[in-house]
C-alpha cells in the first residue's frame, strides 16, 4: 500500500523549488563576482551598507538548506521508487554511494577549479556539492527508517552540533583541520561541514513523507507544511531570543538585520531551524502559486530539472568571463549586479533546456548523474 501511493512522475513543485533556489544562488554568485562591495568585505562574514545589499546576500542563505532538504527528499523518493521496482536495499545503497562519490569528485575537480575560471587546478578542498554527496552517503544508511526515527535523528544531530563546535583544534595541523572542517566546523578547507547539513538533509527526507506520499491533495500539503513551518519559526525565534545555546552571532532587536543573520559557516542551530521553516514555507508558496502562475513557474522548473548542471555551468561562466578575463570583476553596484545576473540567467535557461533534452535521450552514466 505504501509503495503504490508514490506517484511515478516528476513532482513539479520540487523542480520549481529547486529552480527557485538555483536562481537565488545565481543572483548571489553574480554578486560575488560583479559586486564591488566584496572587494573590501567578506561574503562569508558579510557586513551591509544598504538594505538592497542585505537582501541580495541574505536571500541566498535559503540555497544551502534548500539544496540539502530537496536532496534528502529526493533520496527518500528515489529509494522508495527503486524498492518498488524490486531492487535490493544493498544495491540501492550502493547506487547512492556511487552517485555521492561522483559528487565529491565533481566538487574536487570541476567545481573547485571553475571558481577561478579554470585558471588553476584546486582539488584539495571541499564545498557544498561534496557535502551533499557525503550527506547522501549517511542518508543511504537510514533512509529506510520510519520518518519518526529519521526526524529524531535529524533533531538530535542538530542539537549536538553546537556542542561539537566547542572542540578546539589547531588550524595549523592539517589532519585536525581536515577532520574538523569536513564534519563540524567551517573554514578554508570546507565551508559546509557535513554534520549539520546532513541533519538538514534528514529533515528533508522526513518532509518528503508528507510532500510526496501522505499529503495527497495540494491543500493538505500546504496546510500541513505551513503548520510545521510555523512551529519551526516559533522555535527558531525562541532560540534566538534566549541568546545563548544555538546562537553564534549576537543581535540587536527583533526584525533587525542582525536578528535574521546568524552564522552560516558553519550554521548555528537557529540558522538551521529558521531556514528549515523557510524552505517548508517556500515549498508551500510554490504549490499555491502553481494554481495561478504555473506558466511562469515552469521556467523555474526548467533549471530545477538539472540543478547540478546549472550549478556547475553558471559558476564556470562567471569564473571564466568575470574573473579570468576580468570582465566587470567586482566593479559594479547593485544595479550592475542585477543586470549581470539577468543576462547570465537568460543564458543558463537556454543551456538548461538544451541539457535537459540531452539528458533525457542520453544513456551515458555521467550525463545521467549531472
Amino acid at each position: 500500500m505504501e509503495n503504490t501511493s508514490i506517484k511515478a512522475k516528476r513532482f513539479e513543485f520540487v523542480d520549481q523549488f529547486r529552480g527557485f533556489i538555483v536562481i537565488l544562488m545565481l543572483l548571489d554568485h553574480s554578486s560575488y563576482y560583479l559586486n564591488s562591495i566584496w572587494k573590501y568585505l567578506d561574503p562569508a562574514d558579510p557586513l551591509f551598507s544598504s538594505w538592497g545589499q542585505f537582501i541580495l546576500r541574505y536571500s541566498s542563505y535559503l540555497c544551502a538548506p534548500g539544496f540539502l532538504m530537496m536532496n534528502g527528499a529526493m533520496v527518500w523518493y528515489s529509494f522508495k521508487k527503486r524498492k518498488t521496482k524490486g531492487i535490493a536495499e544493498g544495491e540501492i545503497r550502493w547506487q547512492m554511494i556511487k552517485r555521492s562519490l561522483f559528487l565529491v569528485l565533481l566538487q574536487m575537480t570541476w567545481v573547485n577549479s571553475s571558481w577561478s575560471g579554470f585558471a588553476r587546478f584546486d582539488p584539495f578542498h571541499l564545498g557544498i556539492i561534496s557535502t551533499i554527496g557525503m550527506s547522501m552517503i549517511g542518508l543511504s544508511f537510514i533512509i529506510q527508517w520510519k520518518w519518526q526515527y529519521r526526524l529524531l535523528t535529524g533533531i538530535l544531530v542538530l542539537l549536538i552540533h553546537p556542542f561539537l563546535l566547542q572542540i578546539h583544534y589547531d588550524p595549523s595541523n592539517t589532519w585536525q583541520t581536515v577532520l574538523m572542517q569536513t564534519f563540524v566546523d567551517a573554514g578554508e578547507f570546507n565551508k559546509y561541514p557535513v554534520i549539520p547539513w546532513f541533519a538538514v538533509a534528514v529533515l528533508g527526507s522526513v518532509m518528503a513523507n508528507g510532500w510526496l506520499k501522505s499529503w495527497e491533495s495540494d491543500n493538505k500539503k500546504v496546510y500541513m507544511s505551513l503548520l510545521i513551518a510555523a512551529g519551526a519559526f516559533l522555535l527558531a525565534i525562541a532560540i534566538r531570543f534566549a541568546r545563548g545555546y544555538g546562537n553564534i552571532f549576537p543581535f540587536s532587536e527583533f526584525s533587525s538585520y542582525s536578528f535574521f543573520l546568524d552564522q552560516k559557516y558553519p550554521p548555528s542551530l537557529y540558522f538551521n531551524i529558521w531556514f528549515f521553516a523557510s524552505v517548508v514555507t517556500g515549498v508551500s508558496i510554490l504549490i499555491v502559486l502553481n494554481r495561478y502562475i504555473s506558466k511562469i513557474l515552469d521556467v523555474m522548473g526548467i533549471v530545477g530539472k538539472v540543478p547540478l548542471f546549472f550549478y556547475c555551468m553558471h559558476i564556470a561562466l562567471l569564473g571564466i568571463f568575470s574573473k579570468r578575463i576580468d570582465l566587470f570583476y567586482r566593479i559594479g553596484d547593485l544595479a550592475d549586479t542585477l543586470t549581470g545576473a539577468a543576462i547570465l540567467l537568460t543564458v543558463m535557461l537556454l543551456l538548461s533546456a538544451w541539457f535537459w533534452k540531452v539528458k533525457q535521450k542520453s544513456s551515458n552514466i555521467i550525463i545521467k548523474m549531472i
Binding site: 564591488s36 572587494k39 573590501y40 568585505l41 567578506d42 558579510p46 557586513l47 551591509f48 551598507s49 544598504s50 538594505w51 542585505f54 537582501i55 491543500n219 500546504v222 505551513l226 541568546r243 552571532f249 549576537p250 543581535f251 540587536s252 532587536e253 526584525s255 533587525s256 538585520y257 542582525s258 535574521f260 543573520l261 514555507t281 508551500s284 508558496i285 499555491v288 502559486l289 494554481r291
Partner: protein, 416 residues
C-alpha cells in the same frame, strides 16, 4: 488558499522592510563623514574621530583630516558609542574596517562588547609608514550589528624630507595674525591681538600669509598649522597649495570657550615641509564677569523662591528647588515675597522680575505695579522649560525701580 498567500506575502514584506534600524545617511561635507543615525532617539549612534594622538595636557585627541606618512606615524580612530547608557547589559557586535584608496579593505577588526561591559569607546590604529601605505584618500567604516553606521575619510600625503631642494629659491617664512573676529572677505581675522577672553562660543582665528611666495612658485606647498598648548599640538590643520595656486594666505581657527580650553599660554606654529617658518604666542584669559551687586533698600525685605508648581489662589509653592529638568510642558515659577514697611512714596512703585540665561543675558522680564498702600505682596512669574532651553546656570533677578534687590540662581539640566 489565496488568503494564505496574501498573508505570507504581507508578513514577509513587512519583516524584510523593517529590517534596517538606521535612518538615511547624513553627509557632513566639512568633515567628509557620513553617519547613519538610529531610527530610535535612544538608539546607539556612532561618532568617529580620526586623530594623530592625544594631547597630554587636555586629554583630547589631536583631530586632523590629513595625515603624513612617517616611520613612526599612525592614524588613530576613536569610536564613541553614543546613547550607550540606554542599553545597559546588551551585547554589541562592532566591525571597524579600514579601506585603502583602491577600495580594498586592509584591516578589519571585530569587537564584541559583552553584557556587563560598560565600554562606550573603541580604539583602532593603523601605521602609515612610507612604502607600506600609498598616499590617497582612505576610509574608515564602522558597522554595528553588521549594519553600516558611520564612515569617515582622511587623506594620507607623503612626507617630503628633501625640503632643502624646495627652499632652493630662497627662504620662505610666514606672518601669523591672530584675532577674535572672523573676516568674511578673506582669511585675515579682525580684532587682532594676543590676549583673548574665553567668551561663550568664542574662537581665535589665525590668518597665515606666506612671505617670499614667489620662491615656491610652481611647486606643491605642503605644511601644517599646529595649535599648541605648552608646546604640545592639540589641533593640526594641513596646508596644501597645488603647483598652479598663486594664493599666499590661509587660515585656521580653534574654539576658546572655557569648556574647551584652560586659561593660559598658547601658540600657533606654521610648518612648511616640516620646517617651522612662523610662530605666534597668545594668551587665553577667563571672561570678565559682569559684577552685579544686590543692593539693599531700607525698609524693603524681598525673598525669591523657585518652584515647579505654584497655587495662585493659595499663594503656596510646591517643588521648591534650585535645579529643574528641561522637558515639555514643565515650567519654573519664581515667587517673590515682598515686605515694604516704608512710608510710601508718591506714585505706584514698579517691581521688575528678570530671567537671565547661561549667557548672562536677560531673555524675559515682567513688570508689576504695586499699590502704594500694600505693605506685603506675593508676586509670581514663570518661564517654560521646553526643549528650547539649554542646560546651564540661570537666575531670576528682582529690581525695585532700577535697583536690584534680590537674585536667585538655579540650574537647568537635560532630561537624559
Amino acid at each position: 488558499m489565496k488568503n494564505i498567500l496574501y498573508m505570507l506575502t504581507i508578513l514577509s514584506a513587512a519583516l524584510l522592510y523593517a529590517c534596517s534600524s538606521r535612518l538615511d545617511p547624513v553627509m557632513n561635507e566639512e568633515e567628509g563623514s557620513v553617519s547613519y543615525s538610529a531610527k530610535e532617539s535612544s538608539g546607539i549612534n556612532i561618532s568617529v574621530i580620526l586623530h594623530k594622538g592625544i594631547n597630554e595636557a587636555s586629554g583630547n585627541p589631536i583631530s586632523v583630516k590629513t595625515f603624513m606618512t612617517g616611520a613612526k606615524s599612525k592614524v588613530y580612530a576613536s569610536i564613541k558609542l553614543l546613547n550607550r547608557k540606554f542599553h545597559p547589559g546588551e551585547d554589541m557586535m562592532l566591525h571597524i574596517d579600514w579601506i585603502d584608496p583602491d577600495g580594498n579593505s586592509f584591516f578589519m577588526k571585530r569587537t564584541d562588547i559583552l553584557s556587563g561591559d560598560t565600554t562606550s569607546e573603541l580604539k583602532s590604529a593603523i601605521s602609515v609608514q612610507p612604502g607600506k601605505r600609498d598616499t590617497g584618500q582612505y576610509k574608515l567604516r564602522v558597522y554595528l550589528f553588521r549594519e553600516l553606521v558611520a564612515e569617515n575619510n582622511f587623506s594620507l600625503v607623503s612626507y617630503n624630507p628633501d625640503s632643502a631642494a624646495v627652499f632652493s629659491n630662497g627662504p620662505v617664512s610666514a606672518d601669523v595674525f591672530l584675532g577674535s573676529r572672523y573676516n568674511r572677505k578673506n582669511v585675515m581675522p579682525g580684532d587682532t591681538g594676543s590676549v583673548f577672553e574665553q567668551k561663550n562660543k568664542a574662537k581665535v582665528y589665525a590668518g597665515i600669509r606666506l612671505r617670499n611666495r614667489d620662491a615656491l612658485k610652481g611647486k606643491v606647498i605642503e605644511g601644517e598649522i599646529d595649535w599648541c598648548d605648552e608646546d604640545r599640538p592639540f589641533y593640526r590643520k594641513s596646508i596644501f597649495f597645488s603647483q598652479h595656486d598663486t594664493l599666499k594666505e590661509t587660515g585656521s581657527a580653534v574654539s576658546t570657550d572655557i569648556k574647551s580650553r584652560k586659561p593660559g599660554s598658547y601658540s600657533v606654529k606654521v610648518y612648511l615641509y616640516n620646517n617651522l617658518v612662523a610662530e605666534k604666542l597668545f594668551r587665553l584669559v577667563p571672561e570678565k564677569e559682569e559684577k552685579i551687586s544686590v543692593g539693599k533698600i531700607k525698609g524693603i525685605d524681598a525673598d525669591v523662591v523657585l518652584c515647579s508648581k505654584f497655587g495662585k489662589k493659595t499663594k503656596k509653592a510646591f517643588g521648591i528647588s534650585d535645579w529643574f529638568t528641561i522637558k515639555d510642558k514643565a515650567v519654573v515659577h519664581a515667587v517673590l515675597s515682598l515686605v515694604d514697611t516704608r512710608v510710601k512714596p508718591a506714585g505706584k512703585p514698579e517691581i521688575r522680575m528678570e530671567w537671565v540665561g547661561p549667557d548672562k543675558k536677560s531673555f524675559y522680564r515682567k513688570r508689576f505695579n504695586l499699590e502704594s498702600k500694600n505693605i506685603t505682596a506675593v508676586l509670581s512669574n514663570s518661564i517654560s522649560l521646553s526643549n528650547k532651553r539649554k542646560p546651564g546656570k540661570y537666575s531670576c533677578r528682582v529690581y525695585y525701580s532700577s535697583t536690584l534687590i534680590c537674585e536667585k540662581g538655579f540650574e537647568l539640566v537635560a532630561s537624559h
